[in-house]
């Protein structure tokens, strides 16, 4: 937490200038994570039947565009398809001269033009062949799959990635519809969740530490201050002052319920001087406004309590990730003090410069003190668990302490499949109960997946995509698997909703529209960025977009 003043102007580098607008979102740490990551895009899995090249892979290419521009380390496109005419109508990263050439090579070439800092490769072999090499998959931080792909391919790819702890994004886009799912490792922790700044304030007004309480001495003459001084007492001190007054008349108790807080708010309001030209005082207005939101006793958020109770937090080993050592140290801190380490930030408020800075220093030094305690615990754990790959940086512990109240662990799940586990089927069944739900579109894509698998294995011919019979059989099959597993019925109206979705998919013969694939590529890239930078909170785990109604929904399947 050293805050030295830089000596002279250090202008930004050309890289900082190029990436300025995004560095304001994920800072140098996020940028570094991005630049160290290599992404695999599996953009097709062979043709659908005789004439067609199958999936167009526009979502995949548009996603990569949105990752290449902000400067991802590198990418590899795996795509055995050759460029056909329909590709030229939907894919911006192909040109007329690309016709008949390797789609992997051509899209790779035109994507690389976007950013000379990014390395790009292409492979025209099918992914199943590449997976034979045990060194292939581990070089990637994330796998993107443009579906629909053959079921067996998807299974082997997603389980290989899961074994290596590599997240997978599986996308499909047809006509005005799209869907994608994110498969994350079983425990995916995030420290920098970037909550709303207001919700991160911890002012500890109800249980001030000695130095903060002592600062009240500075305003013991509040009543006799001149108007200028009185109107510039920081509202934090005003609240602390009136809390003391309140306690005097309430047997030493703090205002605890809503009614008492309203009464306390009146007490604060009554202290404001109104016989001045402004007819009031801004610092008192700020104090009055803060009563209801800042005077709440500390409670541990349930999401954090859950993290403290997880096995990973309680059974540390020498292989435990840094996250769990720090989380465990913070849990010890909480057990001892019943609060989290102080983040140390102070909102802006009406005050004289020097008074504000000295109050800010009280908060900052307490934050440093709390941090020092957590660091000490972490070092103790490291010693106990030695040997470890390296000491956890102080900076990482500091970032953790600042964000402690809002850290998150996502319990990643496998890509949702209809013959998957009961949880998936139950979640789908529940969502179907809502007539406005977009889950029927998700089911439509599942039916598309199985039709494509059957075309690719030769069980159906390519015309099946245009045959109402094939789609209707798919709907029946889906309903069958839902009802047999969940032992519930699906009414006719729900069935009609699923059928309408399949009619829209059938209208497109499995083909996509550039707009919807570009939109989906934006959404998917957003999730990829969050997964790679480990900042903000990624999808858990499935999103459906309906471009007819311009709506999206998230499901945990």
């Amino acid at each position: 937490m050293t805050e030295a003043f830089p000596a002279a102007l250090v202008g930004p580098s050309s890289k900082e200038r190029k990436y300025d607008r995004q560095l304001r979102l994920w800072a140098a740490s996020g940028q570094q994570a991005l630049e160290e990551a290599r992404v695999l895009l599996v953009n097709s899995d062979g043709p659908w039947g005789e004439q067609s090249t199958g999936v167009s892979g526009v979502v995949g290419v548009e996603t990569l565009k949105n990752l290449v521009l902000p400067g991802i380390g590198g990418f590899t496109i795996v795509d055995p398809a050759l460029v056909t005419e329909p590709d030229l109508g939907v894919n911006f990263f192909l040109e007329e001269e690309s016709l008949g050439k390797s789609r992997a090579q051509e899209t790779c070439r035109l994507l690389r033009e976007l950013n000379p800092d990014v390395e790009g490769n292409s492979e025209s072999k099918p992914i199943t062949e590449l997976l034979q090499d045990p060194n292939f998959l581990p070089q990637f931080k994330l796998v993107l799959v443009s579906g629909p792909v053959k079921r067996s391919t998807l299974s082997s790819l997603s389980s290989a990635a899961k074994a290596l702890g590599i997240p997978v994004l599986y996308t499909r886009s047809v006509g005005f519809y799209s869907t994608f799912s994110l498969q994350l490792p079983a425990a995916f922790p995030i420290v920098e969740t970037h909550p709303d700044p207001e919700s991160t304030q911890d002012l500890r007004l109800l249980n001030p530490w000695p130095e903060l309480a002592a600062s009240l001495a500075g305003i013991s003459n509040l009543e006799t201050m001149d108007d200028h001084q009185h109107g510039h007492v920081p509202y934090i001190l005003l609240l602390l002052h009136y809390l003391e007054k309140w306690k005097e008349t309430h047997d030493g108790n703090l205002p605890s319920n809503y009614k008492e807080k309203i009464a306390f708010r009146e007490l604060v309001r009554s202290g404001a001087r109104t016989a001045n030209p402004e007819g009031g005082e801004e610092n008192y207005d700020e104090a009055v406004a803060a009563v209801l939101k800042s005077l709440n006793p500390f409670t541990l958020r349930s999401s954090l309590r859950e993290i403290f109770e997880m096995d990973e937090c309680n059974t540390l080993t020498s292989n435990s990730a840094d996250f769990w050592l720090i989380a465990s140290a913070i849990r010890d801190f909480y057990t001892k003090h019943r609060v989290l380490p102080l983040p140390g930030s102070l909102p802006d408020m009406k005050a004289q410069s020097a008074d504000y800075v000295s109050l800010q220093n009280i908060y900052k030094s307490k934050a440093r003190e709390d941090l020092a305690e957590v660091i000490e615990t972490v070092r103790g754990l490291e010693a106990k668990l030695s040997p470890r790959p390296g000491q956890i940086a102080d900076k990482d512990i500091e970032v953790f302490c600042k964000n402690a109240a809002h850290i998150k662990v996502i319990h990643g799940r496998d890509l949702p499949l209809l013959d998957g586990d009961t949880h998936t089927l139950k979640a789908i069944h529940n969502a179907l109960g809502d007539p406005e739900s977009l889950i029927s579109t998700f089911l439509g894509f599942n039916i598309l997946d199985s039709i494509i698998t059957e075309i690719q294995t030769g069980a159906l011919n390519q015309e099946a995509l245009e045959s109402s019979l094939a789609w209707e059989a798919g709907v029946d099959r889906v309903i069958q698997s839902l009802t047999s597993e969940v032992s519930a019925t699906i009414d006719e109206e729900t069935k009609q909703r699923i059928l309408r979705t399949t009619q829209e998919l059938q209208r497109m013969q499995g083909g996509d529209l550039h707009n919807v694939s570009a939109l989906t590529g934006g959404l998917v890239a957003q999730e990829a960025l969050k997964v790679i930078t480990r900042q903000y909170v990624p999808l858990d785990n499935t999103c459906v977009f309906d471009g007819i109604r311009s709506r999206s929904e998230m499901y945990r399947l």
């Binding site: 304001r24 949105n66 109508g89 020097a354």
Partner: protein, 421 residues
Amino acid sequence: MVEINQTLRWKHLYNVLSRPGPFSDEDWVPGPETISALESSKILVIGAGGLGCEILKNLALSGFKDIHVIDMDTIDISNLNRQFLFRQSDIGKPKAEVAAAFVEKRVKGVKITPYVGKIQDKDEDYYMQFKIVVCGLDSIEARRWINSTLVSMVDFENPESLKPLIDGGTEGFKGQARVILPTLSSCIECQLDMHAPRPAVPLCTIATIPRQPQHCIEWAHQIAWQEQRKDDTFDSDDLEHIGWIYNAALERSKQFQIPGVTFQMTQGVVKNIIPAIASTNAVIAAATTSEALKIATACNPYLENYMMYAGEEGVYTYTFEAEKKPDCPVCGNLARKMTVDPNMTLEAFIETLGERPEAQLKKPSMRTEEKTLYQRFPPQLEEQTRPNLKLKLRDLIEDGQEIAVSDPAYTIDFRYRLDFS
């Protein structure tokens, strides 16, 4: 030269335009007529930046063949992280021209006509030639201008005069897309208070009691520059100027012991920089062009009328119908109510108009039906009305009286009814 079979090339698009779907209108006639109507639709894109580049690409791949684009800006290095039609070697060139040429070259058969300049340079005759207008702007002022222009162009005798306006906007991981049918549905001005400006730091804080690094930067920008370099016109793109502001802010921050002034923050405050990334632009731009395709072809129902997107935590969207307001200064016929303190001076009232979410007018002039309260131009009238600035509102108007406010940024008058608090 490769000969491309156009029917094969546009196979997927033609599928959706040649077959009815479960949600397309029963009376809709799919097929060649719909396709040729789309291909002959003239469409205007306002802005060739983060959203505009995406919009141009998307329209070209949605079958639009006659696209126009307006942008007054030139390409800067900080655009390259998302404006994917531009390269390092394009820095300094006009965005509209480079973007148009790139998409024309990539998607053969599309004509894109660039105009380098301001939207205000063009008159109603110009805007009348388009079927749809799509906006990818970062300025509220420009949006309000085109909105009021399109509303005022509507002639109920002539359905062609109603130009659907599709608007996109982004900030960081968030954005919104909306469809406006001028005079028929909620317009940009109706929704103005949903996009409130950030409150400004009070001048006295900047001048005398800074507490945050941003206050020190504002001091350097608003006060120190005026005092020490008043003969130089400040240019936020000039690195020497920004460097000077940074150093002045740094000195002040040391004097007040306020840590945290950085060059990046200085640029952010002075230029009012909004974070921007490719992925959010991709989402919002495609949402707008998807609506353009649906409106131009009726292949599926269009958005009524607002979709917001937030990507910080998962994928969140909220789609709703914003309401048309009868007291909208642009498309309504009632004066908008505004509660004011009668003891406020006219000068103070004028200052609040810049920040009030329902007004956001920076250089207003105003009058009642009987008299002019304050008029900025011409100078004689300004001088004549200047003494009113020091008067209290109660001495100038009655409780509940209507005033008309004009602002050089807009062509219309805004009507407000002032109710005393």
